[in-house]
Amino acid sequence: MSSLLSLRNLTKAYPGVVANDNVSLQIAPGEIHALLGENGAGKSTLVKMIYGLVKPDAGEMQIHGAPFAPVEPRAARAAGVGMVFQHFSLFDALSVAENIALGMENAPRLRDLSRRIREVSDTYGLPLAPDRIVGDLSAGERQRVEIIRCLLQKPTLLIMDEPTSVLTPQEVEILFETLRKLSAEGTAILYISHKLEEIRALCDTATILRLGKVVGECIPRETTARDMAEMMVGKVLSTPSRAGVMPGPTMLSLHKLSLPSSTAFGLPLREISLELRQGEILGIGGVAGNGQDELLAALSGEIRAPAGMLHLKGQDIGGLGPNPRRVLGLLAAPEERLGHAAAPGMSLTENAMLTGAAREGLETGGFLNWQAAQGFAENIIDAFDVRTPGAENAAGSLSGGNLQKFVIGREVLQRPEVLVVNQPTWGVDASAAAAIRQALLDLAEGGAAVIVISQDLDELMEIADRFAALNEGRLSAPQPTAGLSMEQIGLMMGGAHGMEVAHV
């Protein structure tokens, strides 16, 4: 078949690392082509070269047989390449149509543009009203804005970077329908993901990258997810294991926890109730931005709660700050590593002090014992295999996965009685993610109670005993994960709580 895009021997090196090494690949018109690989495998660099954001050191690209060397995204767009990024670049305070107009070279009048947006959204099954304010949209709807922005330029190749990480299963289905329709019309799609089941459901072909090199190609429908994962990682994967523990007494209980929103586009928490028992892991799913950060802050003590809503081992802790809660045994690890869980400019020793001061005895009468803190940091580095030259290095100099291991390790090693983590394996490679999950399972087995807030449903199904979903600041009633279907999960995430009755 004649190829739409062909890459030959693309190479791109950064100081100290070869991001892409002789990468070649072909995409035919209408083909849905998956680009698979762990974080740091070179997927982003490759698509940035195609989209004109990065210039290759060597190698060549062709579109329809003609040489293609975009010097900037505008040139790539003119050649028919569109890209939907993982992180949206939208203005919350503007409407959908205004946002789209901002990204266009010669924006038509808003009324005409709105009409075209409606046409595109009808044609491709992407429901979206042009006059809505972006700040009010869900993550899935925001992604549609980005997709429509691309489709208005009638691309022949659409690049999608991890598009489903922010979607509910139902929204994923809608997206896949759209992509299949585009593919049937002849638009090629380069689909970046590390979610293997999705790729098996959607893609025609897959190219697998590891450490900048193409290590394999396959037809996803005919390959098992496990085989693809092992090609990605380059070794045999171990699945986290746990021995079933009978849940013990209630450790943490939330009774109709309600908090007003602390920021303009934040969410209030609405009457969240749950009981967390010793030895269990409660998974909390939900699309990003439905109250996850707020719930973590309310539990960690960054936001105080009114009396009577929050109890730890029977004691009302609503009015306590983070450190008194740590002393009582309630520890937390927020989602954002840089700037929230850790201070990027400070050393690992100082970051160990950040949350470890009280429980690890790093402080006496207000005076800090830096030697002890360094010892604690070195313990974390050893126990969690954090790759760094030493504890004196700045947290910001670590790779995302290594810093995440440090941040989780810091809390786990403090022997928490209740641990709350948000997105514990976000942006972490497969083997580090497995290690973090295993640490959480071991912790629960050792008698702690754990809440894992995550957008990765596979992760929650793998480690959680019970599952609940956050939707607009409300929490669905927790259900045992065993026997829960994707459809039920989707409904819980979408806020249809009526299903619970049938299931109990």
Binding site: E72, S300, G301, G339, A343, M353, G396
Partner: protein, 360 residues
């Protein structure tokens, strides 16, 4: 094509070297400025930096170094705590004035009684005056989220008007033949902040500055409060997560800098200046901002920066009288120092690449 590239880790060497480069750049461009004014640049620079230390009248100028350096260091130490945490007290000048007014006011209230308790009382009153003036922006920020930069700066002008009104009114020397200004505290033994060792310039303000430096050093390196200050400056959300209460930190940082600025004002008015007058303040509160940054917000660095700025003050005065350089030129010269320091600071986190651009 010249490009800036972010360093993976900020350069420690550069953090220590920038003050030196900034001083050298200031020498060069300051020299150009003096040349443009028709003065010999080399001689001007030498007059400012060499004359006070090793010149013919160095015995007179050297004690001045301590007298002028002490208030700068004392104020800058307080400011550096807030600056490290991202709390910007720009109004130390006002807190300095209020400290001087409160302290001198207490002393003058007891005139002509003699008691050993009067001076310690004035010290406390001076600290209180600076603290109160700093608490205004602090409380407004904590309660209503106002911007402490604006409020503290505006309060400087309020304090200046207040000072003028006091030296013409309430505190005016009844035996002063109608001249504005209070009684001279140098002639009132119980209230006089005299030299501790004659001829050295060493007075209680210098002692206080040294204590403040040690206090700040221990606080920042060993104490949880100093750690809270540093984490807040690095990553406010991480500080909150670590249990730092941002409001309390604002009160602490502004309060401490107010107390130290107030003390500096009191030691100045009761010692080297002697009286409350309309033009009692000479801008120590503003210059201390330069000192704090020039010293990298580090206690030891601030001592060195304070002495350097004191040198430019003294040398500037000599240059004015001997070479006829305008006072404004000296101020531009001092301003250049901060300007170059901030500009060169960029290289702590970025490195310069000269070559072809990679992406358009």
């Amino acid at each position: 094509m010249i490009r800036l590239e972010k360093r993976p880790q900020s350069s420690r060497a550069f953090a220590y070297l920038t003050p030196l480069f900034a001083v050298l750049a200031t020498f060069f461009f300051g020299g150009l400025l003096f040349a443009a004014l028709g003065k010999d640049p080399i001689q001007s620079i030498l007059t400012i930096f060499w004359e006070p230390l090793f010149g013919e009248f160095a015995f007179f100028y050297r004690p001045q170094l301590l007298i002028k350096g002490a208030p700068l260091v004392l104020i800058a130490i307080g400011l550096s705590l807030g600056f490290k945490a991202g709390i910007w007290n720009i109004g130390a000048e006002g807190q300095y004035i209020m400290g001087a007014f409160f302290g001198a006011g207490l002393g003058l209230a007891f005139y002509p009684a003699e008691s050993r308790l009067i001076f310690p009382g004035m010290v406390l009153a001076g600290a209180l005056g600076g603290w109160i003036w700093a608490m205004i922006p602090a409380v407004l920020k904590v309660r209503f989220g106002t911007n402490e930069i604006l409020v503290s700066l505006m309060l400087v002008y309020v304090a200046e008007q207040f000072l003028a009104s006091m030296s013409l009114g309430l505190l005016k020397n009844p035996e002063g033949f109608g001249f504005p200004g209070s009684r001279n505290l140098q002639q009132y033994d119980s209230a006089h902040n005299a030299e501790l060792i004659t001829g050295t310039g060493m007075h209680w303000g210098v002692v206080a500055a040294f204590i403040a430096v040690i206090f700040a050093y221990v606080l920042l390196s060993r104490h949880r409060l100093g750690f809270a200050v540093r984490v807040t400056g690095e990553a406010p959300r991480a500080a909150r997560f670590a249990g730092v209460n941002p409001s309390r930190l604002v009160l602490f940082c502004l309060g401490t800098s107010g107390v130290l600025a107030g003390l500096a004002g009191l030691f100045e008015v009761s010692g080297p200046a002697g009286q409350v007058s309309i033009d009692f303040n000479v801008g120590y509160g503003f210059t201390a901002i330069i000192v704090a940054f020039l010293g990298r917000l580090h206690p030891i660095g601030i001592v060195m920066a304070g002495l350097l700025m004191a040198l430019t003050y003294i040398g500037g005065d000599i240059a004015q009288s001997q070479l006829g350089l305008p006072a404004a030129a000296i101020q531009v010269f001092q301003g250049m120092l901060l300007f170059f320091l901030l500009a060169l600071d960029l290289f702590t986190n970025y490195r310069l690449r000269i070559g072809r651009a990679e992406t358009a």
